[in-house]
């Protein structure tokens, strides 16, 4: 960012600056060409064919701008379980340890809180907030030490008493050459384990944008990442499940080897969702048809699926499945328990993909061997769900159609209680330098409005494609937030959000002068959205400000039911 010089022109009605570019803010500004040359001689990277990379995204550029070399001393935590991180790590030298079970206590891993304002800091917003819209301190865009997403050096925590940890916790070694963290970086999911340095170690931290490019332009990295992605995810997923959690490592491996890994729908479903919706169409690939005979248990690993039953001339949504939910256990169990029974053992409901869904198909033979002998007869959930009236299911049907089921902190307003006073909007503006971060406007069903406020989705598709990683999960709470310092205003996130909850705004300097690109004089834009008042005291101001309790932030999984 050093080359981005801020020029203030007091006589002009404009404020100019260099337009931020991809790699304008490298992951680590201390990375040098020598570092890149050194990395290219490392065994894990030397075989990558640089010629396969496009000219505008050269391999050297990726290594210089999307990676950084981090050194860890024994006991230093590299990643913490539960954190949302946007980086993967390649071990260049040294050995690390991953804590498998039980997890380390929260206080021992120094889980940091988001920086919230002090009481005085909150109060001082009364006079520090700017009366002019979307003003910024433009000098902050020129700081070299800005970090982009991912982990932060200053947040490092050192584990105390490592021998005791090794004694009390089941750990595994991660040796030189290993790659880890790619699952969380690419899958937009929290870290599943805590990893710390067992000895002096040197790691290459690759932010997810770089990882994405390496995967896209190098077949070996693609194969390695995909294979590891499947293997690691599958084993972990099976172990987390109710059905397979009791199995030992060998049995899990056996189950994993016999499972079929399936993917339905498009990874970038959000790009066509609104268009198809406006045309009254939907793109929901069928995973299982009602009436078919099941050949295995379907375990949803990521994404969402719609469970339906035929109703009249249409289909009725009775449930939706997300990560961790299973489909088809009941008929499979019946077939195993009563192989000669004459009752219909076909699927009583169908399953279709909502957007992108990862499914693990566990063959019936595996279930017969490892699961059915150890479980009580599963409950038939279809019967109870089917008995609900169409009217009772209307909200669920609508929420699934609109994909609001993705929301974890969705702003819903009870219009029967809302007096349209806009206190919520004013409260939001008061906490964001005078700029509201949502619109009291949105889709309505019955007396509920889903306002245009970031829903902090389970699958935040807005994070896909951000060239600088400015939009990221916060370290605590998992809120999706935008780092204004590193946002280049490209609009990728705003275009990706299927709910139109991200806005691009033209920024002004503290005097209210519009900030424009020094070369083209086109406005400098920044993406803005609800951050759930992550830096404010007391949580979302909109909820607290509603005088009639009409506004709520809800997890749509619970709300729709």
């Amino acid at each position: 960012m050093a080359e981005q010089q801020i020029q203030t022109q007091p006589q002009s009605a404009e404020h100019t600056m260099a337009r931020p570019q991809r790699w304008a803010q490298p992951f680590d500004s201390n990375m040098t060409d020598q570092d890149v040359d050194r990395l290219l001689s490392e065994s894990q990277l030397k075989d990558i064919d640089g010629e396969k990379f496009p000219k505008h995204i050269p391999l050297g550029g990726i290594l210089k701008n999307d990676t950084r070399i981090a050194k860890f001393t024994p006991g230093e935590i590299v990643v913490r379980e539960g954190d949302y991180g946007n980086s993967a790590f390649l071990v260049l030298s040294g050995r690390l340890r991953v804590v498998l079970s039980p997890s380390l206590p929260r206080d021992s891993i120094g889980r940091s809180e988001e920086n919230t304002r002090s009481l005085f800091g909150a109060f001082s917003q009364l006079w520090t907030s700017n009366w002019l819209p979307e003003t910024r301190d433009t000098s902050k865009y020129s700081l070299d030490e800005l970090m982009v997403g991912g982990s932060n050096e200053s947040a490092r925590v050192v584990l105390q008493d490592i021998p005791t940890i090794l004694d009390k916790h089941n750990t595994g070694a991660i040796e030189t050459g290993a790659l880890f963290g790619e699952l969380a970086a690419l899958g937009r999911i929290p870290r599943t384990a805590t990893i710390f340095a067992d000895e002096d170690a040197e790691l290459l931290e690759i932010r997810w944008q770089g990882l994405r490019e390496l995967r896209a332009y190098n077949s070996e990295w693609k194969r390695m990442i995909d294979e590891r992605y499947r293997e690691t995810a599958l084993a972990a997923h099976l172990l987390e499940s109710e059905e397979f959690g009791h199995l030992d490592d060998d049995q899990i491996k056996d189950v994993a080897d016999r499972c079929i890994f399936e993917t339905y729908g498009s990874f970038d479903w959000y790009t066509s969702f609104q268009r198809l919706r406006s045309q009254g169409k939907s793109d929901e690939p069928v995973i299982a048809r009602q009436g078919d005979y099941p050949d295995g248990l379907l375990m949803v690993r990521a994404g969402f699926a719609r469970q339906t039953v035929k109703h009249g001339n249409g289909i009725k949504t009775i449930n939706y499945l997300g990560a961790g939910n299973n489909f088809g256990l009941h008929p499979l169990y019946n077939a195993w328990k009563n192989p000669d029974a004459s009752e219909d053992l076909a699927l009583g409901s169908g399953l279709s993909a909502l957007g992108y869904v990862d499914v693990v198909r566990v063959p019936a033979s595996v279930l017969a061997e490892y699961v059915f002998p150890n479980i009580e007869p599963p409950v038939n959930t279809i019967e109870a769900a089917s008995q609900k009236t169409v009217a009772e299911d209307a909200l669920l049907e609508w929420a699934v159609d609109e994909r609001f089921i993705n929301g974890r902190q969705t702003m819903v307003i009870d219009l029967n209680s809302c007096v349209r006073c806009d206190d919520c909007v004013r409260a939001c503006a008061n906490g964001h330098d005078g700029n509201p971060r949502f619109r009291r406007h949105g889709k309505i069903v019955d007396n509920w409005m889903v306002a245009n406020a970031c829903m902090h989705c389970a699958d935040p598709v807005c994070m896909i494609g951000c060239p600088t990683g400015a939009i990221h999960r916060s370290m605590s709470g998992g809120m999706v937030v935008i780092n204004d310092d590193t946002c280049i205003g490209c609009g990728t996130c705003a275009n990706s959000c299927p709910y139109e909850n991200i806005s691009l705004v033209q920024i002004a300097d503290k005097q209210g002068m519009p900030v424009v690109d020094e070369a083209t004089h086109r406005p400098i834009m920044k993406a803005t959205k609800c951050d759930l008042c992550s830096d404010q005291l007391g949580g979302p101001a909109c909820v607290r400000a509603c005088p009639h309790d009409a506004l709520k932030r809800v997890d749509f999984r619970e709300f729709a039911h």
């Binding site: 109060f123 009364l126 007096v419 349209r420 206190d423 005291l537 101001a541 509603c546 309790d549 009409a550």
Partner: protein, 268 residues
């Protein structure tokens, strides 16, 4: 919220009984109970008036605004009781006290009125099936009028007849220009529909089938405008009553403090 108001009201009634009982006891002991009731009244009034400050300080964790509203409603009602206990009459003697009582009753009545209309208006707005932000209503109305005029132009060009255009200019443009039938819409009397049936649609018998198609579009726009007008009227009232209630409250607090000062200096 109604439940919370009911629960807090019980405490309000208890508080009123305690103050009333002690005031009576003081009177029986030939003490001046007005000091107790007066100071209690002004203390509750000041606490109730803090709601507006709470709204301005939304960035500080001062509890949910809805809890404050519950306290505001119950505290306001308690003030009415305390006022009667304090004055021992419906209307006190003296010119200044008369003004003070008038302001007090106006604030109380406007508050009760505001609370009731807000509860009723929310449902009425929801029943329209559309949602319009108040500040955008002029823009929405302008868009509806522009669409109507577009249909009229198209109709004239397509049919070569100016019957509908003349009717629009002579009769209907009045309706599209701004919100109409304010009081009728407020009380749900449906005068807009009656007007459209009797005057707006009177042109139908002179229209060809092709022109009738355009008129049907116009009818749809009239129906949409009725909904937007409903939003305007009810949202307008939701905001306007505060213009009476809040300045009056400020005035009342100032007058009450002046009253307190006069009493402290000259009467006690």
């Amino acid at each position: 919220m109604t439940k919370n108001i009911s629960i807090l009201s019980i405490f309000g009634v208890i508080a009123l009984i305690v103050v009333g009982y002690n005031a009576q006891k003081m009177d029986l002991n030939l003490q001046n109970s007005s000091v107790l009731t007066g100071y209690t009244l002004i203390a509750v009034m000041l606490c109730v008036a803090l709601l507006n400050t709470r709204k301005k300080l939304s960035m500080i964790p001062l509890g949910k605004a809805s809890s404050w509203v519950v306290f505001h409603v119950v505290g306001g009602l308690l003030c009415v009781g305390l006022f009667w206990v304090h004055t021992n009459t419906f209307w006190p003697r003296g010119l200044y006290e008369g003004f003070l009582a008038g302001a007090f009753y106006l604030v109380s009545l406007s508050g009760i009125f505001g609370y009731l209309i807000q509860r009723l208006n929310s449902r009425k707005l929801t029943e329209t099936g559309i949602e319009v932000i108040y500040e955008r209503i002029p823009l929405e109305l302008r868009e509806i009028q522009e669409k109507a005029e577009e249909y009229i132009r198209e109709c004239t060009e397509a049919t070569g007849s100016d019957v509908l255009a003349n009717h629009y200019l002579n009769t209907m443009v009045w309706y599209f220009q701004k919100p109409r039938f304010y009081w009728s819409t407020l009380f749900g009397a449906g005068n807009a529909k009656v007007w459209f049936r009797s005057e707006g649609a009177s042109v139908k018998r002179y229209l060809s089938s092709e022109e009738l198609d355009y008129f049907q579009h116009l009818e749809e726009l009239v129906e949409l405008k009725m909904l937007v007008d409903t939003h305007f009227v009810h949202q307008n009232l939701n905001k306007k009553w505060l213009l009476l209630h809040v300045p009056l409250s400020v005035g009342l607090v100032i007058m009450a403090l002046w009253h307190l000062l006069l009493v402290e200096v000259y009467a006690l």
